[in-house]
Every structure is written in C-alpha cells, then in structure tokens.
C-alpha cells in the first residue's frame, strides 16, 4: 500500500479554487434532449452530401421505377402503385445515417465527455433520432412533390393524408430506432454504415414495387409477413383507396420501436468506456 499526500498551501500561495462553491447545474433530460436535437439538426444541414443523398436518392429511385422499369412492369397506372413504395424506401435511406452519427458519438470521445457531465448522456441519441425523423419527413415531402409533378394522382381526402403521414412517421421512427441501435452496437462508424444495408433491401421483398403474386411462391410467406408489406398496403389504401392493414402496420412499427428502445436502453450503460 502506498500513500501520497499533496499539500500545496505551504509552498504555493495564491487564490484557492473557488469554483467548488458553485458547481454547474447541468440540464434536465428534457432540456438536454432539446439541445441535442438542435445539434443533430445543425448536423443535418451541414452534412451537405448526406442531405443530398437523403433527398436525391429516393427521387432518382422513383424516376427509375416510373420511367425506366415502369413501362415493362405494369404500364399505365404504375406510378400510383409505386410511389407509396418509394416513400417507404426513402425512409430507410434517410435513416441509415443515424447509425453513423450514433456510432461516431459512441466511438470518439464525445460520449465519454457527456458521461462525465451533469446530464443524461443518452439524450444525445434522442437528438439524433428526432433529427432523423424530421429530416426524413422533409425528404418524404420532396418525394411526394416530385411524384405529384410526374403524374401521381392520389384520391385521398385530408383524413387519408393525415393517416398516411402518421404511418410514414411511425415507419421512419421504427427504422431510425433500429439504425440507432446498430450505431450503438457497431464497433466503428464505417461498420455501422455497412450493417444498415440489410434493412434497405426489405422493401424490395414486399409489395412495394411489384405485387407479391408475381413473385416465386416460396417468397410469398416472407413478403406477405414482413413489416413493410402491411405498411405499404396501408399507405396505398389511404392514399389511393382500397383495403388497408392499418392495425398490423401500427403494431409492427410500435413493436420495432419498443424492442429497439429496450435493447438500446440495456446496451447503452454497458458500452465499454475504456
């Protein structure tokens, strides 16, 4: 056992530390969430490439499906079929960057500093998630706008639109939550970026681009019961008229958010800090 004592008063006259008398107050989880949301929104605006990708990719994808593939797939009216599918795919593209943002915080020194501060450090992740939802809603609005310009003619009334926006927001939240979890678990921002691709393929094996009946029979079970299909059918139903699978869609989204949230809450305090 070794002992060291440091008494500086004897040989180092001068002002005593006075800071101890007024420690920092810190901020409540609500206030720090607000500050972190602001930070992540600034990130979204600054990261020009990311913003262009989040908006341009879905638009390119839509033009590709409606003009290049559209004729071959279903001809006239395909645009009304495919735009809801593009909206969902777009949500996936935009949310993927959350994995990178979260991983960057976790693997650099930022989270270490937040954890030594009088705040709830996990609200940094809340900031990334909320900013992602906002960013994706903007991108979705652009996609719908371009869709309307090239001939997308939904028949929905205000209530229908509200329902569509609601379900799209829920889906964006679900995808974002999953990507945030990936960012929390991934060893580096690059790895976080890679894992995300799996989720981006989900819409292709659903009724987003082509009806499930046209797929090989062995794929029907997967395509029918994966979360994207009920969500897409619901958006299509409320926008274009026809059947919806609203309850199923909402349950899928909430379930995904809940599971990702619980796993993230379990994982966050166990992240190795040294």
């Amino acid at each position: 056992m070794s002992t060291a004592t440091l008494q500086t008063d004897d040989h180092r006259p001068g002002p005593r530390p006075t800071a101890a008398a007024r420690p920092a107050t810190g901020t409540s989880p609500l206030a720090s969430s607000g500050i972190f949301i602001g930070r992540s929104l600034v990130h979204s605006m600054r990261d020009g490439e990311g913003l262009i990708m989040a908006i341009a990719l879905p638009v390119i994808l839509m033009l590709l499906f409606t003009t290049v593939f559209g004729g071959a797939i279903q001809g006239e009216g395909y645009i009304d079929y495919v735009v809801p599918g593009i909206i969902l795919t777009c949500a996936g593209f935009g949310a993927a960057s959350v994995a990178v943002s979260v991983s960057r915080d976790m693997t650099a020194g930022a989270m270490l500093r937040y954890r030594t501060m009088p705040i709830t450090a996990a609200t940094a992740i809340v900031g990334h998630v909320v900013a992602s939802v906002v960013r994706n809603l903007v991108a979705t609005a652009v996609v719908i706008g371009v869709g309307l310009a090239i001939g997308f003619r939904p028949t929905a009334d205000a209530v229908g639109w509200l329902g569509a926006v609601g379900i799209v927001t829920l889906w964006i939240l679900a995808v974002t939550a999953v990507f945030a979890l990936i960012g929390l678990v991934a060893g580096s921002p690059e790895a976080a970026n890679g894992y995300g691709f799996v989720i981006l393929f989900l819409p292709y094996v659903s009724s987003a681009f082509v009806p499930i009946e046209t797929m090989p029979e062995w794929l029907h079970g997967v395509a029918e019961h994966q979360p994207v299909t009920p969500i897409i059918e619901t958006i299509r139903g409320v926008l274009m008229g026809g059947e919806t699978r609203a309850l199923e869609a909402v349950l899928w989204c909430l379930g995904i958010v809940l599971i990702a949230g619980v796993l993230a809450a379990w994982r966050f305090p166990r992240t190795r800090v040294r």
Partner: protein
Amino acid sequence: MSPTIEVTGLGKSYGSEPVLASLDLVVDGGVLALLGPNGAGKTTLVSILTTLVKPDSGSARVLGHDVVRDAAAVRRLVRVTGQASSLDELLTGRENLVLLGRLLGLGRRAKPRADELLERLDLTAAGGRSVRGYSGGMRRRIDLAASLIAPAGVLFLDEPTTGLDPTSRARVWEDVRELAAAGTTVLLTTQTLDEAEALADRITVLDHGRIVADGTADELTALVGGQTVVLLDAAGTVIGQSETDGTPASVARALTALDPGNVEGARIELRSPTLDDAFAAITTRPREEVAA
C-alpha cells in the same frame, strides 16, 4: 474543507488483470501530475474519479462527494479532457463550447462565456472554423477550452500533449499554466518527466497500478540522480561515464576524470535523467518489467 481528491484503498481489475492495486492518494489544490508508462493505471484512475468507471474496491471522493454513491454531485464539479477528442467534427470550435456550456446549464451565458474563453486562450480565429479542418494541436487546445466553459472544481487532463508537435505542446503547456495560476485544481497524466516537471507542483509516479514515488520535481530528480557526462568513441559506444550534480564545477571534474587518451574521434555528451532512469532509480524491479 474536504480535500480536492481523496482516494483510499482503490482497486480495479479488468478480468484477472489488476489495473489499480489498493491506491491511496490525497490531493489538495494545485497541479498534480500522474506520471507513468502505458498501462500504469493512469487513465483508469482518471476514469474512476470522473465517474466513468466503478472501482472494484476502496473509495474515492472528489471535493467530499463519493464518486460511486454521489456520482451526480461529482459530475457537477469535474471537467475532463480525455485522450480521444470529444469535439463535434461538424460544428465549429465555438459551437462546441456553446453546446457544452448549454448542457452544463449556462443557458444564455454560454455564448458570451465561449467568446471570452476563446479570446483569453488566443483561439478566437480558430473558434470560428469547423473542427474538421483543425490540426491535432488545435483540436487538443479547443478540447481543453471545452473543459473550462463552466467553472471547474477539478480539471482532469489525460495525457494532454501525447502525439502533439513541440510547438502545440508548448501552447498546451501555456494554457495549463494559466489555469493553474487562476487557481484551478488540475490533475494531469503524462508519460514524460519533463512535462510533469514543467507543469506540476507535485508528481506522483504510478507503475503497475501502484504509487512508486511522489514528491516535487526536485525531490524526484534527487532520487534519479544528476546529469551524467558520457564519453563515446567514434562509433557512439560508451567508453566511460561519470555522474555529476549538474554544477559547472562537478562537470569539469567529471571531464577531467574521463580522459579520452588517444581514442580517435572520441566525443562527450551530457545526459539528463529520462523517465527510464527515473523508474530504474525509483523501483527496484528490472527495467524491462517496469517499461512493460
């Protein structure tokens, strides 16, 4: 009044590897340097004192608050600049300071406080630029400034100059000296004796999770010994050496004693004690083990 830092019987292991072994330390103001090689336990000690890591045994108090039971109170008082950059790459230096200031509860005072701090540290120009374009030295200095945005009870600096070029290192040293002069209690870790000597009132040498020596720079240097006059042949092989206490008279005596005779191309070097020498003098263990 409670000591700034009070560590009693502190122990921490990662797996079966003990990192800190029953450590005792009392710090009461001033600047303390924790000196030791990689793996000595310096960062672990800082992590425990800043509530990032829980100790396995013993206790640690910062300004009277237990780091485990009263972590919230400790977090209101400590500021840390760790080895990894904590800066947000997409923000400017100033925006980083304002963000942290607001998180610490400064509210509207965060902005004027950031400006004032940047000006005081002569960083105003850099503060307006994006962190992405910073050099390593600038990054470290802004990261240090980030720890000062709100008054600190204790400031922890984990290897503040590791990896920096000599000029940046000198600037960081200046910053730390200025803080110390303003009365901030600083605990810094370092691998080099000259850094500890340049900045600290008191140096604690840590090795294998234990304190192996502590004292002022002079006291430690006395333990290590003075400068040595070394006689080398043309190939650089040591062919003679003589210890001195650094005074001109003793160096002159040493030179006389080391008569090179007729060795072709012989030359003299004056060697100052290095960290290795410090460890060799302080610990009785073989040097290889100490340096591990």
